[in-house]
Symmetry: C2
Subunit: 323 residues, 2 copies
DNA sequence: TCGATCACCGTAAACGTTTACGGTACTATG
DNA sequence: CATAGTACCGTAAACGTTTACGGTGATCGA
């Protein structure tokens, strides 16, 4: 039944026929036990929290891309759901100890991420969506937060903005550092500085965006522009502004990230976009390229790649300051 | 190591000590093979699509509730991700054949749902989030779509509305039928009728809501109120209205469903809300109550329950029509 | 005709657990 | 002291696969 070469076509046919007749399908536990592999790749995520700041549909789309690759190899993708009541490191240990998956995909990478070292020590193949200072040589893909910062700053400075605010997630997730640091560098290259007072930490959800707006409005020397690092915070931020009678693109320039939700904001959001599906495909290929059983299928996969995003021009930054 | 009674405390201690020393943890495949159980409960969902119409965080919160119950029994919850390229029935067959999970949670229940019969035949314990005309005696929980319809209609009619529109998901998901049918009955009880021309089918996402607004605006005899059945469509619907210069709560009464996103709509949405976490807890208990190994823990769990939602009054329906 | 090669098939061991069961040493009972 | 009972431990079988290996019959070459 496993397509071995030393079996007669005729016999194979009869076996398969009988199997179909009896409704036989191999038991996964037996199979796993024998060959030490599960044909499962796990995507670890935490429930009850919104750690990523992507909308929920973000991952669903990424998953779909991942699966188109996995389907070719009879691998199944499952989401490993770490409860908010359990320590993620403990959870990961448990998953690995149980021999649950042949490989893992990690997201929400922290600036220092102990999970990497653990998995490397156990020799579990894994790929991460997001870089980290912790580097054990694993493949990673990451969105181009530095590019987004650079382009945004250049664009805003060219339009006369001098006092520019930046958001960052409230926790130690790595992307926050990349985004803020590059914003500061880009400003410095123009002879400007990033005012630490204008770096707003926020939960990566709508409520976080609303809170950022409130903090921003409380400043006496209000910035003329802001960069929003998370997809979902724009909605709350817009609301916070409008309650104070302010309008993006008129009273303050806003550059953020596009999402299915953001399309229904008014004024339309200037923001970065990407193909989530393609990202999933690349993620899957990077992982398989490091797994001995599959690596020959992907001899020239990008093992590490900064994923570019495209800027979609909207109205939220459509004004220039007088010189 | 499994806490059997016929072993000396002293011996047990030594064994556990040695196990800890060696870093021993039982291999799940071996364990599953022997006892025919995996300690895994699967929650089936489809990737790449937005079949549910809940925001993405909806399920993450439900999961968290489910897990608080499962944790007590050393059960793990994983999300089984069915690719958009694979038939859900086939996928389910594959999952079951592999003996992947001890039990399943199904959502997005269709009006007629073949998955129920399949699982019942295979004697796989499962619970569904959503009713169906297909009934194999399995436990289910469902949101009170009929109650929402009834309360909404009563409220709107009391405020003078006579011409009321209703949305429903574009596919054959069961909740659409419940909602529309009950809306019609509630109107009939007031001597009114539900105009079939005012039943709008929509994708259960923001874009669907936007499309509903466009369809509604195209009607020559425009309704004065509308019920939105999905959480996420309000955002697109609001946008569609505002592009035409219309405002909820002034030009049309809107009653929908609350979500983390909807809190940032203006005017604030009148809508129904529920505790997602509690729903998850109830879901888990209903499932375990039907599994022989756990049923004695939950002797009086609600095996079938219509889950009530609370109406939060906002501004989106805050006007009455002249008599 | 005989030995060598080949194509194919059947058998048995092994993966890592759990559990039924038999065995041993000790205690209690009369 | 013999028997029964008890507490605990060790052994081996079983779960359902995969795979290494030995075996059989046929074909081929000399």
């Amino acid at each position: 039944m496993n397509g071995r070469p030393d079996v007669n076509e005729e016999t194979r046919r009869k076996v398969l026929e009988a199997a179909a007749e009896l409704g036989y399908v191999p038991n996964q536990s037996g199979r796993s036990l024998r060959q030490g592999t599960t044909n499962i790749i796990g995507f670890m995520m935490q429930t009850g929290t919104e750690i990523t700041g992507q909308g929920d549909t973000f991952f669903m789309s990424v998953f779909d891309g991942v699966q188109t690759v996995f389907a070719r190899h009879h691998l199944d993708l499952v989401a490993l759901l770490c409860s908010s009541e359990e320590d993620p490191d403990d959870y990961l240990r448990r998953v690995v100890a149980r021999g649950f998956a042949d490989g893992l995909i990690l997201s929400a990478t922290q600036r220092h991420d102990a999970r990497f070292e653990f998995l490397a020590k156990r020799k579990i193949p894994f790929v991460t969506l997001g870089r980290s200072l912790t580097d054990v040589g694993q493949p990673w893909l990451d969105l181009d937060f530095e590019g987004m910062a650079q382009i945004s700053i250049d664009r805003l400075v060219a339009r006369g903005h001098r006092r520019i605010a930046v958001t960052r997630p409230h926790d130690d997730i790595n992307l926050g550092h990349l985004f803020v640091d590059q914003s500061a560098r880009a400003l410095a290259a123009r002879g400007l500085t990033l005012d630490p007072d204008l770096v707003f930490s926020s939960k990566p959800n709508e409520a976080g965006g609303y809170h950022v707006a409130q903090q921003l409005l409380a400043k006496k020397d209000r910035p003329t522009a802001i960069l929003l690092v998370n997809e979902t915070i724009a909605i709350g931020f817009y609301r916070g502004l409008s309650e104070a009678g302010l309008k993006p693109g008129r009273d303050i320039a806003v550059i953020g990230r596009q999402s299915p939700q953001s399309h229904f904001l008014s004024p339309s959001l200037t923001g970065f976009t990407l193909s989530r599906r393609d990202l999933g495909i690349a993620l899957a290929e990077a992982l398989l390229a490091t797994m001995p059983a599959f690596s020959h299928f992907y001899p020239d996969a990008d093992l590490r790649k900064v994923w570019p995003e495209d800027l979609v021009e909207g109205e939220s930054d459509a004004f220039s300051l007088p010189a």
